[in-house]
Symmetry: C2
Subunit: 579 residues, 2 copies
């Protein structure tokens, strides 16, 4: 039996758990697993679990408790992953090697015992950062007994996710591990581990979004942030204001109904991924113009770059009772429908363009001394309403760092522009999310999408999109959320998000844009950016593990791109060089 | 009726033929088309055509002539494209606009008359550059009669491809054009318009390759170059040397059999896309070591960067009778099977590493004065054998420009390193292919795939892959094959290729890596890089047309990525800026 410290370069490729567990040991005994394996949860082998494992049904939504639902979903997902969405790991062994275990005299996993040692928070779907203990302990002994213990249902789900990554499909169709005995103790470094998906620049079907959430959960992400509206389209149905989506969506039918939003939230919630929405305000709102032109100033100006970061320009008026009435009504409609499944609502606040308020008849000024009190009032009104509905606000960094809005200390501030912003937010005593666009913006690098004649200023030329070049997984992996933050403020860095903005991403290519690169962010957020020596984690160690995770994602129907050719992953570290 | 010069910025988005025809006019009369439309080819309404249009069969391979097969394939493809692989163009019209024609009192396309005015070359599948006249004339008059005239069967196929791009799917399911009357005269600028696909760094199924060829034909490419072997794998089955693939492929079953190669070649040939193979020699051959280690020197050296551009190192020995015997036998087996479907064979010749020959016991030298005569002999032997089998050699530029091999003037020299290389090749009087890696390498920009510790030299750091960054379509579109070539040598620039090397590309992401960016190369090669003023073609004009071509590719099952969000293409040129 090999004792493998988590950071050793000696980790055999086969033990390719992603993200890296806090500690584990494994051996080299082969065990097979079959779909009649006996699973118990807190001593109960429920009928519903049996129904699930035989593939006769899905999770019964009338189950007695949320914890039970989450665990049953995790068990169902474990069966699917092991028996329907698994892969033959030929790429991870030398060419034409006889790498598969003998299928004679098979020994089997005999039981899976799931033990939850504490009660879940009252409503785990809404739990704030840090209130769900996601740690787990996993033991797989050579006699075939599997034990997973956790303090929460989501901890058990995380443990089962890890469990599936011990197993491979055999060319004869059966499923095996070569790693028994295994013992793993694991817990996340950061409490908020998210992906932010833009569904406004392009529309994505509910199934596309669920596919991203499924892969996110498989990487132990626990937050899914939907940037659901923006200047280009408003796909979110607000039943009391039907024109918002009917006129503001790209097409009448490319919308998210209340039922679909709840479906997405519930889908995520059952996978331990809390889904929250962002309505970005006051900028990034020009799609409201299509139904309520009186609320928007500087709409679709020809010289859009004077008034916005990208076309079309337009922003909510900043000192308008009509805008306030609109927000009262719109958020009163929306927020109570979101709160059963999340504790958060993101009110946006990035890239506010002050020139737009020169055209706003309620303001007529681009003087920040005039604008700041109006912004303060605007944000506080939003946040009061958000809190009144039982939710905690999240805002983009500019509201604090540029506009100096006196945010409540409950607010989470999402940074994106720099590591300095993280330090500045925490210095002011606020909880911060990281996601520096030079590292964790997944959309970068496709080059300019704006159409400019060759005579245009160089700034717009093909390579010069705002965050060129593409950040490959190594760049994302080298990003330390705590960089530049003094140790006494580390606790305020509650986590971060990888971002997929959708100017050049739609359902056809989103998988490839997000995966497997977002896995790098997942590991940084779960396992931390630094190894035991305090240096960046080794890309050489991570590389074959990520290639294996990529194969697992492909096996579950996610079109993740390869990061190395088979020659490299077949041959250990031969695609590196020591000098 | 609008008269639309091909280069006008006034081209309505709906007339989005890609690549741009040499000249056309169109109107605004609506005509529908149904799958019982009467099609004749040189006056014959053949039974087989009727069978195809009713979907009861595929092309009958016992058809009387190749020309008839090509035309029948084109007709079948036209039906599939119009009625099964079409799209609703909502993205190309203002939000929520009523853009579709009324379906009351429909007028129809009444007949499609295909006239071939000259006989095809004796074996059109093998035709050398310039010997197939691909020009066509297309007329669609308001009464519903369609006439396509061409001098060759492939010209008719090109005309039918253009024809399908006049039509859209209606939400009610029918198919229409809004552009009658239409008159188009068209012909290609360059004779060799190709894609080069690497099937050695990663393996691709025959269906993956056919999908790329299908999309290539839809962009009027006429060549498909398969870089079928390389140092990482040898997937090509040579029946007289079974171990080559059995041991040299990534997996015993990840191979291309003679039947599969012929199937791919025939598939391309019937679409007017000549498929030829490359066996890259003498470098890029280390996969031969797995079956014939005695033929390879410097195999898999640890300091691979001393001996090769990427791992594993290894090259055919340069002065070995065993190597010569191997090549005699291997090419004698292979070439006669290729020649029914192509006039070309690519013998490689790029990136030969002279240090490797220090380890070659048949040479023991890195002195180019010693190596050059051996290389001369090596290449001449290959080319003699290629010619003997009725094929014309293609080589990479280094054989001429670095090694000064006295190539026959029949040889086509494929450049990749610079525009200067094109000028140098033509100055020596050779036919040149273009494809400067700073413009037309589709694999660039994913960042480093080699695993290096952070302490490595900066050269290897994440962004520094050899051709970083990613070339977006605007960069590819700005590439002029004739740049730096004096007018009197233009006729020697016979065309070019876009390249997809497969270090980070496999079947999961290849569509997205190739499309729609390769379309930019297709248009440069068909329509020329320059407009009537002699300047680069306008990206502002091309952008919405390319977005539409992208939708047509997606409709045919190709996962091409978007280049702009719907907001931009719905709104004409509002995603540009005039200053």
């Amino acid at each position: 039996m090999k004792i493998l410290p988590a950071l050793s370069l000696l980790i055999p490729v086969a033990v390719a758990i992603w993200p890296l567990p806090k500690s584990y040991t494994s051996g080299d005994t082969v065990l097979f697993i079959e779909d009649n394996v006996h699973v118990t949860y807190n001593g109960v082998s429920s009928h519903s679990i049996l129904i699930i494992q035989k593939g006769h049904g899905t999770v019964n939504s009338t189950s007695p408790s949320t914890a039970s639902e989450i665990v049953q979903t995790a068990i169902q997902r474990t069966y699917e992953t092991l028996f329907s969405k698994n892969f033959i790991p030929w790429k991870f062994h030398p060419r034409n090697s006889d790498f598969e275990p003998s299928t004679e005299n098979k020994k089997y996993i005999t039981s899976i015992t799931l033990t939850q040692t504490a009660a879940d928070p009252e409503n785990i779907f809404q739990a704030p950062v840090g209130e769900v203990d996601e740690s787990y302990f996993l033991s797989l002994i050579e006699s075939g007994k599997v034990t997973i213990k956790a303090k929460s249902s989501i901890g058990l789900a995380r443990g089962l996710t890890t469990f599936t990554q011990l197993f491979f499909k055999h060319t004869e169709g059966c499923v095996y591990t070569t790693l028994a005995p295994v013992e793993i103790s694991d817990e996340p470094k950061f409490a908020h581990r998210g992906i932010n998906m833009d569904t406004a620049r392009n529309y994505f079907d509910v199934d596309d979004i669920k596919r991203i959430i499924d892969a996110a959960a498989y990487n132990k992400f626990n937050r899914f942030h939907i940037h659901i509206t923006d200047s280009q389209s408003w796909p979110l149905v607000i039943p009391s204001m039907p024109d918002l989506a009917t006129k503001g969506a790209y097409r009448k039918d490319l919308v998210y109904t209340p039922e679909q939003v709840a479906d997405i939230q519930r889908y995520g919630g059952l996978l331990g991924v809390q889904v929250f929405l962002e309505i970005d305000m006051p900028g990034h709102t020009s799609s409201i113009w299509f139904s309520r032109p009186e609320l928007i100033t500087a709409f679709n100006e020809e010289a859009w770059d004077t008034y916005a970061a990208e076309p079309p320009s337009g922003t909510l008026k900043l000192n308008s009772t009509e805008v306030y009435d609109f927000l009262d009504e719109m958020l009163d409609d929306l927020l109570p429908r979101l709160s059963p499944y999340t504790g958060y609502f993101h009110s946006g606040g990035d890239e506010v363009n002050i020139q737009a308020y020169l055209l706003d008849e309620t303001v007529r000024s681009n003087d920040t001394a005039v604008l700041q009190p109006l912004m303060e009032k605007f944000v506080q009104r939003n946040h009061d309403q958000i809190r009144e509905k039982g939710l905690t606000p999240i805002v983009w960094e500019e509201m604090l760092l540029t506009w100096n809005v006196s945010l409540g200390k409950d607010v989470i501030v999402q940074t994106w522009q720099s590591d300095e912003a993280v330090a500045a937010v925490t210095e002011k005593g606020y909880k911060a999310l990281v996601g520096n666009y030079n590292y964790w913006y997944l959309d970068c690098g496709n080059g300019q999408w704006l159409d400019f004649p060759p005579s245009s200023s160089e700034k717009y030329w093909p390579y010069n999109d705002y965050c060129f070049p593409r950040h490959n997984w190594r760049v994302m992996y080298s990003y330390d959320p705590l960089h530049g933050v003094p140790p006494e403020a580390h606790h305020l860095v509650v986590g971060g998000e990888a971002h997929i903005w959708a100017e050049q991403t739609d359902p056809v290519n989103i998988d490839n844009m997000v995966w497997p690169r977002a896995c790098a962010a997942a590991e940084v957020l779960w396992s931390g950016a630094k190894d035991e020596t305090g240096g960046n984690r080794s890309q050489t160690e991570a590389s074959p593990r990520l290639s294996e995770m990529r194969e697992r994602l492909v096996a579950r129907g996610v079109m993740a791109h390869p990061i190395q050719m088979p020659y490299c992953i077949m041959n250990g570290t031969q695609c590196g060089l020591d000098h």
